[in-house]
């Protein structure tokens, strides 16, 4: 049994191995059994963030042979990969490689683009997402965007908006309060906004706005959280806060993050998918993809040869 909050050498862990991990949320410890083989590289573990603590995984979504075209132009070519709760999946690749399109197809936002056509299958808990009502699917697979985009209303209403039925206005404001506070707490924003929940959300700082958007996405109690370059418009300080948050959230939801920032993918992603020209070139655990890429194109990209 290993306690992994001290520097340890790189080690291979067999499936079925039990280890004690420190829970980032409350600092307590939990015992977990590994479902699959894992490599623990503690050189990533910074004493302050306790990243790369292994948590159990559970497959929520599966992308099967998915191809997406915009008109005649292929954007995603026959991609297959699993999306698991308990880990952060990082999508990396140069601009136009299809990673954002892939992300948007997971909650059928691609359908908003008229010319987009889709071949293949994406399942959520074993059910083809094409068979789900888009609005129902999007409550289970929510998304946070590159630019912080709180709605032009109060902090409270931004979260409550998600909890209310469609266009309804203000049913029982007080009754929604516990749920709103819970969502804000999960996004690590509650303490900062507790006293000014009625202030316009657009008055918050960029980093706070983005965490509000995460709170909004969490309010629906999704199974999967999609993040499209959530830190690219933020300063390093806010980026760190959000990265820490993402690492915590992977225990409760499956997290998929598109990022241009390779260091960020390295820091927070448990599995990384490298895409190039619409193809999935390599899918591997983060440390393997960055430390020892199998494909030539991955090696060139992560070493900065292109992209």
């Amino acid at each position: 049994m290993d306690v992994i909050n001290q520097p340890l050498p790189v080690r291979q862990l067999e499936p079925g191995a039990t280890l004690t991990v420190r829970r980032p949320l409350d600092g307590g410890t939990a015992q977990i059994r590994l479902l699959e083989e894992a490599i623990l590289d503690t050189s990533f573990v910074s004493s302050s963030t306790e990243r790369h603590v292994v948590v159990p995984t559970l497959e929520r979504m599966r992308v099967e042979e998915l191809s997406i075209n915009y008109g005649q132009k292929p954007a995603v070519r026959s991609v297959s990969l699993p999306i698991r709760q308990g880990e952060v999946l990082g999508l990396i690749g140069p601009s136009g490689c299809g990673k954002t399109t892939l992300l948007r197809s997971l909650n059928r936002l691609t359908e908003l683009t008229k010319s987009a056509s889709l071949i293949g299958r994406v399942t959520l808990d074993g059910v083809d997402i094409a068979e789900l009502e888009p609005t129902a699917l999007r409550r289970r697979v929510t998304m946070v965007f590159q630019q912080p985009n709180p709605f032009p209303m109060s902090v409270f209403d931004n979260v409550a908006y998600v909890l209310r039925e469609q266009a309804k206005r203000k049913p029982r404001k007080m009754s929604l309060r516990p749920q709103v506070e819970e969502a804000l707490a999960r996004a690590g924003l509650l303490e900062e906004v507790r006293d000014n929940m009625d202030h316009p959300a657009l008055r918050l700082s960029g980093g706070q706005q983005q965490r509000l958007c995460i709170a909004r996405a969490l309010a629906a109690n999704p199974e999967v959280l999609l993040l499209d370059e959530p830190c690219s418009a933020l300063d390093p300080q806010s980026t760190k806060v959000i990265e820490d948050l993402i690492v915590k959230l992977r225990e409760e939801v499956a997290v998929v993050i598109v990022t241009h920032n390779l260091q960020q993918a390295h820091r927070i992603a448990d599995h990384v998918a490298f895409m190039y020209l619409g193809e999935l070139v390599e899918y591997a655990p983060g440390h393997a993809l960055f430390g020892n890429p199998k494909e030539q194109r991955t090696r060139e990209y992560v070493s900065g040869a292109f992209g």
Partner: protein, 311 residues
Amino acid sequence: MSRTRALESSSSWRWTDRLGLAFAWLVGLLFCVICAAIVIYLLVQGIRYLHPSFLWTNPKVGNTQNETGGILAPLLGTALVIALAMGIATPVGVGIAVWLSEYARPRQLARVVESTVEMFAGAPSIVLALFGVILFRASFLGFLTEKTGGVVYGKGFFPAGAMLSLLALPLVVTSVREGLQAIPNHVREASYAVGKTKIATIRRVLLPAVRPDIITGSMIGAGHALGDTVIIVILLGDTYILQGVGHVPLLGTLRGTGDTLTSYIFDNAPTGDLNQPNKAFAAALVLLVIVLILNVIVDIFGRKARELKWT
């Protein structure tokens, strides 16, 4: 807005550039002087009758300007007709703007609606007034004005308000549409991405976001309608006092004819029927102040709209 001052002296300028700069200064100052002259002249001419009671006495028949009362009826008439016009133009304008910006299908129809709105923006109000005269004399619209023995009078607040609303409509549409188009698409998608429908997104996200634009557009539209005289003279009846029809309090007044500040000024101008120039100048000052207040409101909400926005 602050501009960086160029660190250079104008001594090295070519004479044509200096002339250009001098011209820009000259016309800028000239414009201010002309405006100031108008306001001062209005003040000098109208100040004698610009007494508080001028605002709350009705116009009366009299031989000299001292006996002809105030502008209560035109003031009320202005408020009523503008309220009516904006009560129509604002919801209709917002609806058109939302449809044009968020739906616009089929595209051909959208293009037709768009050019129609643009055409109305440039339509001379006399054309609208003329159309209004024909329209509101139709017997099926007789309930909106006075109807005696099968003949529809066709003049009153409803016809004037309806036609004025067409004058204000394009300004509302333009303002709201620009506001909607300034909302980045990812804001709409953020709403869809938490499972909201398009209707919910429009009602709960987009419309609150363009509230300042709705107010600005309505105020600009109201300012435009406020200044119109032709529609008022032709369609409101230009009757100097509010002449209600029937006994229902507000509805009766609206069905009846009346007067506004512009038609009051028109009638009292030296070329008008009544020729009481000082009264006209006093009323013109009041009108100017109202327009000024509208502009201040536009300014405040315009600033508010720019203040809280996405990147």
